[in-house]
Protein backbone atom coordinates (compact mmCIF):
# COMPACT_ATOMS: atom_id res chain seq x y z
CA UNK A 1 0.00 0.00 0.00
CA UNK A 2 2.82 2.34 0.86
CA UNK A 3 4.42 1.66 -2.51
CA UNK A 4 1.21 2.65 -4.31
CA UNK A 5 1.07 6.02 -2.66
CA UNK A 6 4.39 7.19 -3.99
CA UNK A 7 4.16 5.47 -7.36
CA UNK A 8 3.49 8.66 -9.41
CA UNK A 9 1.77 12.02 -9.74
CA UNK A 10 -1.93 12.59 -10.28
CA UNK A 11 -3.00 14.83 -13.19
CA UNK A 12 -3.81 17.61 -10.77
CA UNK A 13 -0.37 17.42 -9.19
CA UNK A 14 1.31 17.56 -12.58
CA UNK A 15 -0.77 20.58 -13.62
CA UNK A 16 -0.05 22.44 -10.41
CA UNK A 17 3.64 21.64 -10.74
CA UNK A 18 3.63 22.86 -14.33
CA UNK A 19 1.88 26.10 -13.45
CA UNK A 20 4.31 26.78 -10.62
CA UNK A 21 7.20 25.90 -12.92
CA UNK A 22 5.94 28.23 -15.64
CA UNK A 23 5.44 31.02 -13.13
CA UNK A 24 8.99 30.63 -11.87
CA UNK A 25 10.38 30.61 -15.41
CA UNK A 26 8.35 33.72 -16.23
CA UNK A 27 9.63 35.37 -13.07
CA UNK A 28 13.22 34.59 -14.02
CA UNK A 29 12.64 35.85 -17.54
CA UNK A 30 11.08 39.15 -16.52
CA UNK A 31 13.56 39.85 -13.79
CA UNK A 32 16.34 39.15 -16.27
CA UNK A 33 14.75 41.56 -18.71
CA UNK A 34 14.39 44.29 -16.10
CA UNK A 35 17.97 43.79 -15.02
CA UNK A 36 19.33 43.88 -18.52
CA UNK A 37 17.34 47.04 -19.31
CA UNK A 38 18.60 48.70 -16.15
CA UNK A 39 22.12 47.62 -17.02
CA UNK A 40 21.85 49.00 -20.56
CA UNK A 41 20.46 52.29 -19.41
CA UNK A 42 23.05 52.69 -16.65
CA UNK A 43 25.96 51.85 -18.92
CA UNK A 44 24.50 53.99 -21.70
CA UNK A 45 24.26 57.03 -19.48
CA UNK A 46 27.64 56.34 -17.92
CA UNK A 47 29.27 56.13 -21.32
CA UNK A 48 27.54 59.27 -22.56
CA UNK A 49 28.65 61.05 -19.43
CA UNK A 50 32.26 59.99 -19.46
CA UNK A 51 32.67 60.62 -23.21
CA UNK A 52 31.28 64.11 -22.88
CA UNK A 53 33.31 64.80 -19.76
CA UNK A 54 36.57 63.68 -21.32
CA UNK A 55 35.95 65.68 -24.48
CA UNK A 56 34.95 68.71 -22.46
CA UNK A 57 38.08 68.69 -20.33
CA UNK A 58 40.22 68.42 -23.46
CA UNK A 59 38.28 71.30 -24.98
CA UNK A 60 38.76 73.38 -21.83
CA UNK A 61 42.50 72.95 -22.03
CA UNK A 62 42.61 73.78 -25.72
CA UNK A 63 40.48 76.89 -25.42
CA UNK A 64 42.50 78.03 -22.43
CA UNK A 65 45.54 78.29 -24.74
CA UNK A 66 43.77 80.59 -27.20
CA UNK A 67 45.93 83.43 -28.45
CA UNK A 68 49.25 82.20 -27.08
CA UNK A 69 52.18 83.48 -29.11
CA UNK A 70 55.43 81.67 -28.49
CA UNK A 71 58.12 84.28 -27.72
CA UNK A 72 60.56 82.30 -29.88
CA UNK A 73 58.15 81.75 -32.75
CA UNK A 74 59.77 81.47 -36.18
CA UNK A 75 56.53 82.06 -38.05
CA UNK A 76 56.71 85.03 -40.39
CA UNK A 77 53.04 85.29 -41.01
CA UNK A 78 51.62 85.95 -37.58
CA UNK A 79 47.85 85.60 -37.70
CA UNK A 80 47.68 85.75 -33.94
CA UNK A 81 49.06 89.25 -33.63
CA UNK A 82 47.71 90.77 -36.80
CA UNK A 83 44.36 89.22 -37.44
CA UNK A 84 42.23 86.66 -35.67
CA UNK A 85 43.07 84.21 -32.96
CA UNK A 86 39.49 83.64 -31.86
CA UNK A 87 36.28 83.73 -33.84
CA UNK A 88 32.72 82.90 -32.97
CA UNK A 89 29.89 82.65 -35.48
CA UNK A 90 26.22 82.33 -34.66
CA UNK A 91 25.33 81.76 -38.28
CA UNK A 92 27.90 79.67 -40.08
CA UNK A 93 28.79 81.99 -42.91
CA UNK A 94 31.65 80.52 -44.89
CA UNK A 95 31.26 77.32 -42.93
CA UNK A 96 28.05 76.05 -44.50
CA UNK A 97 28.75 72.46 -43.60
CA UNK A 98 27.85 73.24 -39.98
CA UNK A 99 24.41 73.10 -38.42
CA UNK A 100 23.07 76.64 -38.28
CA UNK A 101 21.17 76.56 -34.98
CA UNK A 102 24.31 76.21 -32.91
CA UNK A 103 27.49 78.28 -32.55
CA UNK A 104 30.81 77.81 -34.28
CA UNK A 105 34.13 78.51 -32.55
CA UNK A 106 37.61 78.81 -34.03
CA UNK A 107 40.83 79.27 -32.04
CA UNK A 108 44.55 79.65 -32.75
CA UNK A 109 47.53 79.22 -30.47
CA UNK A 110 51.25 78.50 -30.64
CA UNK A 111 52.26 75.11 -29.36
CA UNK A 112 56.02 75.59 -29.79
CA UNK A 113 58.32 78.02 -31.62
CA UNK A 114 57.74 76.03 -34.80
CA UNK A 115 54.11 74.96 -34.56
CA UNK A 116 50.83 76.80 -34.54
CA UNK A 117 47.52 75.08 -33.88
CA UNK A 118 44.11 75.92 -35.26
CA UNK A 119 41.03 74.22 -33.81
CA UNK A 120 37.41 74.59 -34.96
CA UNK A 121 34.34 73.36 -33.13
CA UNK A 122 30.87 73.21 -34.66
CA UNK A 123 27.82 70.97 -34.94
CA UNK A 124 27.56 68.76 -37.99
CA UNK A 125 24.88 66.41 -39.26
CA UNK A 126 25.63 62.69 -39.55
CA UNK A 127 25.68 61.43 -43.11
CA UNK A 128 22.85 58.96 -42.68
CA UNK A 129 20.44 60.79 -40.37
CA UNK A 130 19.37 64.19 -39.13
CA UNK A 131 21.08 64.03 -35.76
CA UNK A 132 24.13 66.21 -35.08
CA UNK A 133 27.53 65.67 -33.48
CA UNK A 134 30.19 68.06 -32.19
CA UNK A 135 32.83 68.17 -34.91
CA UNK A 136 36.42 69.18 -34.22
CA UNK A 137 38.84 70.28 -36.89
CA UNK A 138 42.46 70.21 -35.79
CA UNK A 139 45.22 71.76 -37.89
CA UNK A 140 48.94 72.02 -37.20
CA UNK A 141 51.03 74.58 -39.09
CA UNK A 142 54.67 73.72 -38.94
CA UNK A 143 57.59 75.99 -39.98
CA UNK A 144 61.24 75.13 -39.41
CA UNK A 145 62.36 78.68 -40.20
CA UNK A 146 60.70 81.79 -41.64
CA UNK A 147 59.03 81.03 -44.95
CA UNK A 148 59.95 77.36 -44.69
CA UNK A 149 56.68 75.75 -43.80
CA UNK A 150 55.29 72.33 -44.51
CA UNK A 151 51.68 71.71 -45.49
CA UNK A 152 49.51 71.73 -42.39
CA UNK A 153 48.41 68.48 -40.84
CA UNK A 154 44.63 68.39 -41.00
CA UNK A 155 42.04 66.35 -39.18
CA UNK A 156 38.86 67.82 -40.51
CA UNK A 157 35.46 67.49 -38.86
CA UNK A 158 36.20 64.48 -36.72
CA UNK A 159 33.49 63.30 -34.37
CA UNK A 160 34.45 64.82 -31.02
CA UNK A 161 31.27 64.17 -29.03
CA UNK A 162 28.48 62.01 -30.43
CA UNK A 163 24.83 63.06 -30.47
CA UNK A 164 25.26 66.66 -29.45
CA UNK A 165 22.05 68.60 -29.95
CA UNK A 166 23.20 72.06 -29.02
CA UNK A 167 26.52 73.89 -28.70
CA UNK A 168 26.60 77.50 -27.51
CA UNK A 169 29.52 79.78 -26.73
CA UNK A 170 29.37 83.01 -24.72
CA UNK A 171 32.47 85.21 -24.65
CA UNK A 172 32.70 87.61 -21.71
CA UNK A 173 34.96 90.50 -20.74
CA UNK A 174 36.46 91.20 -17.31
CA UNK A 175 33.23 92.84 -16.10
CA UNK A 176 31.14 89.84 -17.08
CA UNK A 177 29.47 91.47 -20.08
CA UNK A 178 29.11 89.54 -23.29
CA UNK A 179 31.57 90.50 -26.02
CA UNK A 180 30.00 90.37 -29.46
CA UNK A 181 30.60 90.17 -32.39
CA UNK A 182 33.95 88.38 -32.46
CA UNK A 183 34.49 87.45 -36.09
CA UNK A 184 35.52 88.66 -39.52
CA UNK A 185 31.98 89.69 -40.48
CA UNK A 186 32.35 92.90 -38.49
CA UNK A 187 35.88 93.81 -39.67
CA UNK A 188 37.77 95.88 -37.10
CA UNK A 189 35.14 95.65 -34.37
CA UNK A 190 35.60 91.89 -34.23
CA UNK A 191 39.36 92.26 -34.26
CA UNK A 192 39.30 94.66 -31.31
CA UNK A 193 36.62 92.71 -29.47
CA UNK A 194 38.66 89.51 -29.32
CA UNK A 195 41.27 91.30 -27.17
CA UNK A 196 38.66 92.10 -24.50
CA UNK A 197 37.70 88.51 -23.82
CA UNK A 198 38.39 87.12 -20.38
CA UNK A 199 36.28 83.98 -20.22
CA UNK A 200 34.55 81.64 -22.64
CA UNK A 201 31.42 79.87 -21.42
CA UNK A 202 30.44 76.68 -23.19
CA UNK A 203 27.08 74.91 -23.19
CA UNK A 204 26.83 71.42 -24.64
CA UNK A 205 23.58 69.45 -24.71
CA UNK A 206 23.83 65.77 -25.55
CA UNK A 207 20.91 63.58 -26.54
CA UNK A 208 20.77 59.81 -26.01
CA UNK A 209 21.08 57.76 -29.17
CA UNK A 210 18.16 55.49 -28.30
CA UNK A 211 14.74 56.15 -26.83
CA UNK A 212 15.28 55.61 -23.14
CA UNK A 213 11.96 56.56 -21.56
CA UNK A 214 8.67 54.67 -21.92
CA UNK A 215 6.62 57.85 -22.25
CA UNK A 216 7.37 61.17 -23.87
CA UNK A 217 9.01 63.83 -21.73
CA UNK A 218 9.11 67.56 -22.28
CA UNK A 219 12.57 69.06 -22.32
CA UNK A 220 13.06 72.78 -22.02
CA UNK A 221 16.61 73.47 -23.09
CA UNK A 222 17.93 76.95 -22.52
CA UNK A 223 21.58 77.49 -23.43
CA UNK A 224 22.66 81.13 -23.50
CA UNK A 225 20.73 82.87 -26.28
CA UNK A 226 19.12 79.74 -27.68
CA UNK A 227 16.05 78.15 -26.09
CA UNK A 228 13.95 75.32 -27.45
CA UNK A 229 11.41 72.79 -26.29
CA UNK A 230 11.31 69.15 -27.38
CA UNK A 231 8.92 66.38 -26.47
CA UNK A 232 10.24 62.84 -26.93
CA UNK A 233 11.51 59.68 -25.27
CA UNK A 234 15.22 60.55 -25.40
CA UNK A 235 17.42 61.44 -22.47
CA UNK A 236 19.37 64.71 -22.47
CA UNK A 237 22.28 66.10 -20.47
CA UNK A 238 23.61 69.63 -20.56
CA UNK A 239 27.22 70.37 -19.68
CA UNK A 240 28.46 73.83 -18.82
CA UNK A 241 32.02 74.94 -18.43
CA UNK A 242 33.68 78.33 -18.07
CA UNK A 243 37.23 78.73 -19.38
CA UNK A 244 39.63 81.49 -18.36
CA UNK A 245 41.56 82.69 -21.40
CA UNK A 246 44.85 83.58 -19.74
CA UNK A 247 46.75 84.37 -22.89
CA UNK A 248 44.64 87.27 -24.08
CA UNK A 249 45.58 90.77 -23.01
CA UNK A 250 42.78 92.59 -21.28
Amino acid sequence: MKMKKIKGFTLLETLVAMVIGMLSIAAIFFSYQTFSKAYDSVSNKAEMNSNARNALSQMTREIRNTGRIDPNSVMTHNPLAETYFLQKYTSPRGYSQYYSGADFLQIFYDDSPTTRIRIDYGLKKYKDNNETYLARTYMVFHCTEPNKCTLPIRNVDQIFINNVEDFQVVLKDKDGNEVTPVNQLSANIGKENQKKIKTAELYITTKSKDKIYKTKKTWKISNADRSYVVNDQHHRDTYFVSVYLRNIIK
Binding site: I6, G21, S24, A27, I28, S31, Y32, F35, S36, A38, Y39, V42, S43, A46, N49, S50, R53, S57, G67, R68, I69, D70, P71, N72, L80, A81, S112, P113, K195, Y244, R246, N247, I248, I249, K250
Partner: protein, 208 residues
Protein backbone atom coordinates in the same frame (compact mmCIF):
# COMPACT_ATOMS: atom_id res chain seq x y z
CA UNK B 1 11.92 7.28 3.35
CA UNK B 2 14.73 7.11 0.85
CA UNK B 3 12.37 7.50 -2.10
CA UNK B 4 10.57 10.34 -0.42
CA UNK B 5 13.86 12.18 -0.24
CA UNK B 6 14.49 11.69 -3.93
CA UNK B 7 11.20 13.21 -4.94
CA UNK B 8 11.46 16.22 -2.73
CA UNK B 9 11.14 18.52 -5.81
CA UNK B 10 12.98 21.24 -7.65
CA UNK B 11 12.24 24.19 -5.38
CA UNK B 12 15.67 24.19 -3.79
CA UNK B 13 17.76 23.96 -7.00
CA UNK B 14 15.48 26.51 -8.63
CA UNK B 15 15.87 28.92 -5.75
CA UNK B 16 19.61 28.41 -5.79
CA UNK B 17 19.79 28.97 -9.53
CA UNK B 18 17.68 32.09 -9.25
CA UNK B 19 19.86 33.32 -6.42
CA UNK B 20 23.03 32.74 -8.40
CA UNK B 21 21.66 34.49 -11.51
CA UNK B 22 20.40 37.46 -9.51
CA UNK B 23 23.66 37.74 -7.58
CA UNK B 24 25.61 37.66 -10.82
CA UNK B 25 23.51 40.37 -12.40
CA UNK B 26 23.56 42.65 -9.41
CA UNK B 27 27.30 42.22 -9.03
CA UNK B 28 27.75 43.29 -12.67
CA UNK B 29 25.61 46.35 -12.04
CA UNK B 30 27.48 47.19 -8.87
CA UNK B 31 30.88 46.80 -10.52
CA UNK B 32 29.76 49.03 -13.41
CA UNK B 33 28.62 51.69 -10.98
CA UNK B 34 31.83 51.39 -8.97
CA UNK B 35 33.97 51.77 -12.08
CA UNK B 36 31.98 54.85 -13.03
CA UNK B 37 32.32 56.22 -9.52
CA UNK B 38 36.09 55.70 -9.52
CA UNK B 39 36.37 57.33 -12.95
CA UNK B 40 34.39 60.28 -11.61
CA UNK B 41 36.62 60.66 -8.57
CA UNK B 42 39.80 60.48 -10.66
CA UNK B 43 38.39 63.06 -13.05
CA UNK B 44 37.43 65.32 -10.17
CA UNK B 45 40.88 65.03 -8.59
CA UNK B 46 42.70 65.82 -11.81
CA UNK B 47 40.37 68.79 -12.37
CA UNK B 48 41.11 70.06 -8.85
CA UNK B 49 44.86 69.64 -9.43
CA UNK B 50 44.45 71.69 -12.57
CA UNK B 51 42.79 74.48 -10.58
CA UNK B 52 45.55 74.23 -7.98
CA UNK B 53 48.13 74.74 -10.74
CA UNK B 54 46.11 77.75 -11.94
CA UNK B 55 46.24 79.19 -8.42
CA UNK B 56 50.00 78.72 -8.53
CA UNK B 57 50.20 80.84 -11.67
CA UNK B 58 48.02 83.56 -10.18
CA UNK B 59 50.16 83.65 -7.02
CA UNK B 60 53.35 83.77 -9.10
CA UNK B 61 51.96 86.70 -11.08
CA UNK B 62 51.26 88.52 -7.81
CA UNK B 63 54.79 87.82 -6.64
CA UNK B 64 56.27 89.15 -9.89
CA UNK B 65 54.25 92.35 -9.62
CA UNK B 66 55.39 92.91 -6.05
CA UNK B 67 59.08 92.17 -6.63
CA UNK B 68 60.04 94.20 -9.67
CA UNK B 69 62.85 95.96 -7.76
CA UNK B 70 64.31 92.66 -6.62
CA UNK B 71 64.21 91.28 -10.16
CA UNK B 72 66.10 94.31 -11.48
CA UNK B 73 69.24 93.19 -9.68
CA UNK B 74 68.95 89.41 -9.37
CA UNK B 75 70.25 86.85 -11.83
CA UNK B 76 69.00 83.27 -12.30
CA UNK B 77 70.33 80.60 -9.94
CA UNK B 78 69.87 76.88 -9.34
CA UNK B 79 66.35 76.21 -8.09
CA UNK B 80 65.88 72.58 -9.03
CA UNK B 81 67.30 71.11 -5.80
CA UNK B 82 64.67 72.96 -3.76
CA UNK B 83 61.74 71.86 -5.89
CA UNK B 84 59.70 68.98 -4.55
CA UNK B 85 57.12 67.76 -7.03
CA UNK B 86 57.43 70.36 -9.79
CA UNK B 87 60.91 69.50 -11.08
CA UNK B 88 62.38 71.21 -14.15
CA UNK B 89 62.58 67.75 -15.77
CA UNK B 90 58.78 67.68 -15.95
CA UNK B 91 58.74 70.38 -18.62
CA UNK B 92 60.08 69.34 -22.02
CA UNK B 93 60.82 72.86 -23.25
CA UNK B 94 63.50 73.67 -20.63
CA UNK B 95 66.83 72.02 -19.89
CA UNK B 96 66.83 69.68 -16.90
CA UNK B 97 68.21 71.61 -13.91
CA UNK B 98 67.55 75.04 -15.44
CA UNK B 99 68.20 78.20 -13.46
CA UNK B 100 65.41 80.42 -12.20
CA UNK B 101 64.36 83.05 -9.70
CA UNK B 102 61.69 82.04 -7.27
CA UNK B 103 59.96 78.93 -6.05
CA UNK B 104 56.94 78.58 -3.81
CA UNK B 105 55.01 75.62 -2.46
CA UNK B 106 51.70 75.99 -0.65
CA UNK B 107 48.48 74.17 0.06
CA UNK B 108 45.32 75.91 -1.10
CA UNK B 109 44.06 76.60 2.44
CA UNK B 110 47.04 78.94 2.85
CA UNK B 111 45.88 80.92 -0.18
CA UNK B 112 42.11 80.99 0.07
CA UNK B 113 41.30 82.07 3.59
CA UNK B 114 38.15 84.11 3.52
CA UNK B 115 34.85 82.81 4.93
CA UNK B 116 35.60 79.15 4.71
CA UNK B 117 33.87 76.43 6.69
CA UNK B 118 35.97 73.78 8.39
CA UNK B 119 34.96 71.18 5.80
CA UNK B 120 36.10 73.38 2.96
CA UNK B 121 39.38 74.14 4.71
CA UNK B 122 40.02 70.44 5.24
CA UNK B 123 39.36 69.80 1.57
CA UNK B 124 41.63 72.64 0.45
CA UNK B 125 44.44 71.33 2.65
CA UNK B 126 44.62 68.27 0.42
CA UNK B 127 45.45 70.30 -2.68
CA UNK B 128 48.65 72.17 -3.27
CA UNK B 129 50.73 73.92 -5.88
CA UNK B 130 54.40 74.47 -6.49
CA UNK B 131 55.74 77.00 -8.95
CA UNK B 132 59.05 78.33 -10.17
CA UNK B 133 59.83 81.36 -12.29
CA UNK B 134 62.51 81.53 -14.97
CA UNK B 135 63.44 83.71 -17.90
CA UNK B 136 61.37 82.49 -20.83
CA UNK B 137 63.39 79.58 -22.29
CA UNK B 138 65.12 80.00 -25.64
CA UNK B 139 64.56 77.46 -28.41
CA UNK B 140 67.37 75.29 -27.03
CA UNK B 141 65.73 75.25 -23.58
CA UNK B 142 68.20 77.56 -21.83
CA UNK B 143 66.81 79.99 -19.24
CA UNK B 144 70.03 81.88 -18.48
CA UNK B 145 69.52 84.98 -20.59
CA UNK B 146 66.65 87.43 -20.64
CA UNK B 147 64.57 87.95 -23.73
CA UNK B 148 63.10 91.41 -24.11
CA UNK B 149 60.76 93.38 -26.33
CA UNK B 150 59.50 96.92 -26.56
CA UNK B 151 56.13 97.54 -25.01
CA UNK B 152 53.61 100.35 -25.10
CA UNK B 153 52.44 100.03 -21.51
CA UNK B 154 53.23 103.21 -19.60
CA UNK B 155 53.30 102.26 -15.91
CA UNK B 156 56.65 101.19 -14.54
CA UNK B 157 55.52 97.96 -12.99
CA UNK B 158 52.80 96.76 -15.33
CA UNK B 159 52.49 93.09 -15.81
CA UNK B 160 50.95 91.69 -18.92
CA UNK B 161 49.54 88.27 -19.34
CA UNK B 162 50.71 86.22 -22.25
CA UNK B 163 52.17 88.11 -25.10
CA UNK B 164 51.13 91.58 -26.03
CA UNK B 165 49.31 92.22 -29.25
CA UNK B 166 50.21 95.86 -29.08
CA UNK B 167 53.33 96.43 -31.14
CA UNK B 168 55.97 99.10 -30.56
CA UNK B 169 56.34 101.41 -27.56
CA UNK B 170 59.09 103.01 -25.54
CA UNK B 171 59.42 100.70 -22.54
CA UNK B 172 61.39 97.49 -22.37
CA UNK B 173 59.56 94.42 -21.22
CA UNK B 174 61.31 91.26 -20.05
CA UNK B 175 59.91 87.82 -20.71
CA UNK B 176 59.41 85.49 -17.76
CA UNK B 177 57.82 82.06 -17.68
CA UNK B 178 55.95 80.63 -14.74
CA UNK B 179 55.99 76.85 -14.40
CA UNK B 180 53.32 75.63 -12.05
CA UNK B 181 52.19 72.19 -10.86
CA UNK B 182 49.00 71.33 -8.99
CA UNK B 183 48.78 68.23 -6.83
CA UNK B 184 45.97 66.45 -5.01
CA UNK B 185 47.96 66.08 -1.81
CA UNK B 186 49.60 68.27 0.82
CA UNK B 187 52.78 70.13 -0.25
CA UNK B 188 55.00 67.81 1.81
CA UNK B 189 53.36 64.53 0.90
CA UNK B 190 52.78 65.00 -2.81
CA UNK B 191 54.14 61.98 -4.65
CA UNK B 192 54.95 62.27 -8.35
CA UNK B 193 54.15 58.62 -8.97
CA UNK B 194 50.98 58.30 -6.93
CA UNK B 195 49.18 61.63 -7.05
CA UNK B 196 47.49 63.42 -9.88
CA UNK B 197 49.73 66.28 -11.00
CA UNK B 198 48.69 69.00 -13.44
CA UNK B 199 51.44 71.00 -15.14
CA UNK B 200 50.92 74.49 -16.53
CA UNK B 201 53.10 77.17 -18.06
CA UNK B 202 52.50 80.85 -18.48
CA UNK B 203 54.58 83.45 -20.34
CA UNK B 204 54.64 86.88 -18.79
CA UNK B 205 56.15 90.18 -19.91
CA UNK B 206 57.20 92.49 -17.12
CA UNK B 207 58.23 96.12 -17.38
CA UNK B 208 61.19 96.70 -15.07
Amino acid sequence: MKKNYKEKGFALPLTLLLLVVMALMSSILISKTTTEHTANTTKDLSQQSFYAAESGITEAEKWLKANVDLLKTSSPSNIDRDLKFCKTSMFPNIINGSNGFKIERKSLDQVITENLSKDELDRLKKFSYEYFITYTPAVNGSTNTAKTKTASVSEGTSITEGTSYKQGGTKTATYYTIFSCGCNNTPDNCNVNKDSIARLEQDITLIK
